[in-house]
């Protein structure tokens, strides 16, 4: 479970402090499929980065399974990212010199897995995201949608407890975006992995069970619905 208590983040721009988050209180249970919505500049990326241990809040607490991650050393944070957190980026961020298979293999380099098991996992997850035939392709030989699928496979291959996706569909056309969202939803149900993604796209919100709306660094709405469209 992820819990934030009065989370604040100020950015310093020259001498001025700009408050990007101004008191975020929320709880996200394990296995939830949550969208963080809001207009540009509302603080979505900032919030996701703090949850993902990439950034630190100025004030307030963030608890993952009861542990205050602010208090962790950067080494322990890296450890947490290595095992518990998968990231999906708006710009895919695949390593261009590596094939789809190798990109997915990358997070496993850090884990001590037997080679056979490693291979099995990589192949399985690539099949799951529908790239069974694209294993040997480099990023520049794939479409945006395919690249994002590789990125999702890369985030999931280490079997993390949560996947954080910052505007995962913003660089994709709407059909592809739908496919990606459906895929994430499917993986969420199948693996029970918590998915938190940011968006300002209505389509994306339609898919989520829960939408947390941000405006100017505050939560203005937190709404749930029973099940998204398939």
């Amino acid at each position: 479970m992820i819990e934030t208590i009065d989370l604040h983040k100020d950015y310093r721009i020259g001498k001025v402090l700009f408050p990007a988050l101004r008191g975020i209180d929320m709880k996200i249970e394990d296995g939830e499929f949550t969208a963080i919505a809001g207009p540009s500049g509302s603080g979505k990326t900032t919030l996701l980065n703090i949850i993902g241990c990439l950034d630190v809040p100025t004030r307030g607490k963030i608890l993952i399974d009861g542990t205050n991650i602010n208090e962790l050393s950067s080494r322990r944070k890296a450890e947490l990212r290595k095992t518990q957190i998968g990231f999906v980026f708006q710009t895919f961020n695949l390593i261009p010199v590596l094939t789809a298979y190798e990109n997915v293999e990358l997070p496993l380099v850090l884990l001590n897995l037997e080679p056979d098991k490693k291979k099995e996992r990589i192949v399985a997850i690539l099949e799951e995201v529908g790239l069974g035939e694209f294993i040997g392709r480099r990023p520049n030989e794939m479409s945006g949608g395919q690249q994002q699928r590789v990125a999702i496979a890369r985030a999931l291959v280490k079997e993390p407890t949560m996947v954080l996706a910052d505007e995962p569909t913003a660089n994709l056309d709407s059909t592809t975006a739908k496919e990606i969202l459906a895929l994430m939803q499917e993986l969420n149900e199948k693996h029970g992995t918590t998915f938190i993604f940011s968006t300002h796209d209505q389509l994306v919100m339609d898919y989520s069970r829960r939408t947390i709306n941000l405006r100017d660094g505050r939560i203005v709405e937190d709404k749930r619905k029973p099940k998204g469209p398939r």
Binding site: L54, D55, A78, R81, T83, E105
Partner: protein, 408 residues
């Protein structure tokens, strides 16, 4: 998937950039190798000239002679060379012994007079341990009293040829001027400037007569069987002949020359360093670009949980691989140039025609390859590339992951 593997692929992400960088490194390193080969070659030629013409391996002098060798002091010479020759001839490791008489003189062709170094040699013995006898390019070696060998350069300077007559003039032990008429029996081309420009070689008996030193000689030259271990042999000879004589190795007597050559090496090193700095700037630039353009990639790796040290290592491999390519290429080019230098050499004679140089060789320098040095140069190239890579990478990995990810 190993880090090395990723680094390898990144090297070929910009093949042209890699090639240019490696080429810059290789130019630097091959120049270093080139210079080393030349310096070694020059030193080797100088050493050969000294050993084969001038001193052989060891020389025995009467005590205090060597200290004033420059003025050829005839009052401190070896009065009884037989005694020394007999005393040491049974020491194992000696290949041959020959006496020589060196003196200041001048020669005249009737018109011009030139100062020369006169040298009396034992006609038979001398050619057993020196190459002088094998360097006669015109005429013949010494045979009779009244014969003289002179260098080709000296012959040119004084318009002499085989069969020409010259007069040799010197002051004897008592301070009286003495002169002999001599016939040029042969011309020497040794490659040793001293011999080719400034030397008049005559039979030893005639030199002794000219100087009024009876049986005396200025030095005894000893050739060893094993050139590398002269120290112990020197000790034995020294012990055998006693304290009224002194023994020196050819290296001791030419320390000054090899000191000059130490200077040269420092110079060579400095030039090499400059070239390497140029190459290093090239690779700094390349690695700086490689790091800068991959900052978001570094951010992605960090987000995945990659530690800084892993990321640094990846770039070090990358710099190291480029460095290894450059070094290998540099060593290859250096080797090819060196092989050319060993077989053909470089002709500096035009450059130094009118300069008097103490360095004992002529200026067609043939190279001498030092493979160990080449290995060092190779490793040096890689090391420089790696060190130079550290700086931009360390800087990039210091960025927080968020900042790295946002970087465009």
């Amino acid at each position: 998937m190993k880090l090395l593997n990723i680094a390898w692929r990144n090297v070929f992400r910009h093949t042209r950039r890699t090639i240019i960088t490696a080429a810059a490194i290789s130019v630097g390193l091959s120049s270093m190798i080139f210079m080393n080969t030349m310096m070694n070659g020059a030193d080797k030629m100088a050493s050969r000239n000294i050993i084969d013409f001038e001193t052989s391996h060891l020389e025995v002098f009467a005590k205090d002679y060597y200290r004033e060798e420059g003025v050829f002091p005839l009052d401190t010479i070896i009065e009884n060379p037989r005694y020394i020759a007999d005393g040491i001839k049974d020491i194992p490791g000696i290949k041959g012994i020959t006496p020589r008489v060196k003196f200041q003189a001048s020669i005249s062709n009737g018109i011009d007079e030139l100062p020369v170094l006169g040298m009396g040699i034992d006609i038979e013995n001398d050619r057993r341990i020196f190459e002088t006898g094998n360097s006669v390019v015109a005429g013949r070696y010494l045979q009779n009293s009244g014969d003289v060998l002179i260098g080709t350069d000296l012959a040119n300077d004084m318009s002499l040829e085989v069969g020409s007559y010259i007069t040799i003039i010197t002051k004897d032990r008592n301070g009286t001027y003495n002169a002999f008429d001599l016939e040029v029996a042969g011309l020497l081309n040794t490659g040793h400037p001293l011999f080719d420009r400034n030397m008049a070689v005559i039979p030893i008996a005639q030199a002794q007569e000219l100087l009024a030193i009876e049986e005396g000689v200025t030095e005894m030259c000893i050739r060893a069987i094993d050139e590398e271990t002269l120290g112990p042999l020197k000790e034995k000879v020294s012990e055998e002949i006693g304290a009224q004589y002194e023994v020196f190795t050819w290296k001791e007597m030419n320390a000054a020359i090899f000191e000059i050559s130490g200077f040269k090496r420092a110079g060579q090193f400095m030039i090499g360093l400059v070239v390497v700095i140029i190459a290093a700037v090239g690779i700094i630039n390349t690695m700086l670009m490689a790091v800068m353009e991959r900052i978001p990639e570094i951010g992605t790796l960090k987000a995945m949980g990659f530690t800084n040290s892993r990321i640094v290592r990846m770039f070090i491999y990358e710099g190291g691989i480029i460095g290894a390519f450059g070094s290998a290429l540099g060593c290859l080019i250096g080797l090819l140039i060196s092989i050319y230098l060993v077989h053909v050499g470089l002709d500096f004679s035009g450059l130094f025609e009118n300069v008097d140089i103490v360095y004992p060789m002529k200026f067609i320098i043939k190279g001498e390859i030092d493979y160990v040095n080449m290995l060092y140069v190779f490793l040096f190239g890689i090391l420089v590339s790696v060190i130079v890579t550290l700086w931009p990478v360390r800087k990039a990995t210091k960025l927080e992951p968020v900042d790295a990810l946002r970087h465009v």
